[in-house]
Symmetry: C2
Subunit: 217 residues, 2 copies
């Protein structure tokens, strides 16, 4: 159906489009794809001819309805494979991304529907991100960044914004995990750093950390 490269561009546009209403710029896409702006222009033209994106020169690019559906199926596959790797093969949450980047391109409807069943229709991946169903529908959680909470507020950790291996390892080391209850004991006005309470201990974290953790109140 679509080439590896086309699928990766669609996914990248999808992820960048989430962050704003505006179209995705050539440079942003080049950065995301680790390539040059000129290569991006070429590919966008191709995707545009295939009606997967809506594109006007110098105006940025948007996913078409077809493009969005395709991107959602790739995201679905990526996240299901991540669940498989963690739940069935014992990977930790910081190890799954690269492998899932490859697995997400395997083309078999049956493979994915059976995998979904085998995993018991999970709703979220190991980082708390929602898994679209076969039709591309998924729950949007009403979550907020931990950095938005004030002193005294508390909630449950439901996701991470940064899924880099470094950040996830930092969380592991400090026993901060999905589903944990976090209470803000104190917040420093000067730099936004926080003293937070976990079940067994309290911990001081920088805004770099608190602004990458999603909380449901």
């Amino acid at each position: 159906m679509f080439s590896l490269s086309e699928e990766n561009y669609l996914k990248a546009i999808f992820h960048l489009q989430k962050n704003s209403e505006a179209g995705v710029s050539t440079n942003a896409l080049a950065e995301e794809m680790q390539t040059k702006a000129s290569s991006v222009t070429d590919m966008i033209k191709k995707l545009s001819e295939k009606k997967l994106v809506i594109y006007e020169k110098y105006r940025g690019v948007y996913l078409s309805e077809t493009g969005r559906k395709t991107a959602l199926q790739i995201v679905r596959k990526h996240r299901l494979w991540e669940v498989f790797l963690v739940e069935k093969l014992g990977f930790s949450w910081d190890e799954v991304h690269e492998v899932a980047e490859e697995l997400e391109h395997i083309k078999s409807e049956k493979l994915i529907s059976e995998l979904d069943k085998f995993l018991n229709y999970p709703k979220r991946d190991p980082h708390g991100d929602p898994i679209p169903d076969a039709k591309g529908h998924f729950q949007v959680a009403n979550k907020t960044l931990l950095s938005n909470l004030s002193k005294g507020e508390k909630g449950t950790l439901v996701g991470v914004k940064d899924s880099s291996s470094e950040f996830l390892k930092y969380l592991d080391k400090n026993a901060i995990a999905l589903g944990k209850t976090i209470e803000v004991l104190d917040k420093e006005d000067f730099d936004g750093s926080m003293l937070i309470q976990l079940k067994e201990k309290s911990l001081r974290i920088s805004p770099m950390v608190s602004s990458n953790i999603y909380i449901k109140i």
Copy 2:
């Protein structure tokens, strides 16, 4: 490490090399790869430069030690994924090949070693073919074709030579499966067709069938 195409050529040479002592001919490889002889020559040159095959113009091609090890790892991955698809996702043995053709190229040592563990270190794939271990070692079964048996001999079905969907479906339909005991009740001199005894029933099969079934006596 290696491109998709390189891996597929190595695997094809490996499978063709099994059938004879001689080098693999350009035409045989072209047939196996569903491509043209000239394309094969190009790729063989490339693999030869990378020391994965030993090649002399007009003399056929052989896998080098490195090439053989690489091919065995791809075969290992292919067969482990086939076991996964059948045992965990409920695929039937005639549905697994195409999907495994894609899955076998996923590059992650850990993925394969953990999959192997998860599947409890299977020794054979759903068609009875041996699965090489991480070092590339595998058991060579002492098996023979059912067509070689004489009237009165019996044995256990341990594998199939032809893994085409059509053949496997024929076997399913007639309840001929891995592990079944088969006895030759009668063999026709004229065309080699056989009357065989399965557990519950007897059945007449053509030499086309008996020469694609492996038996262990």
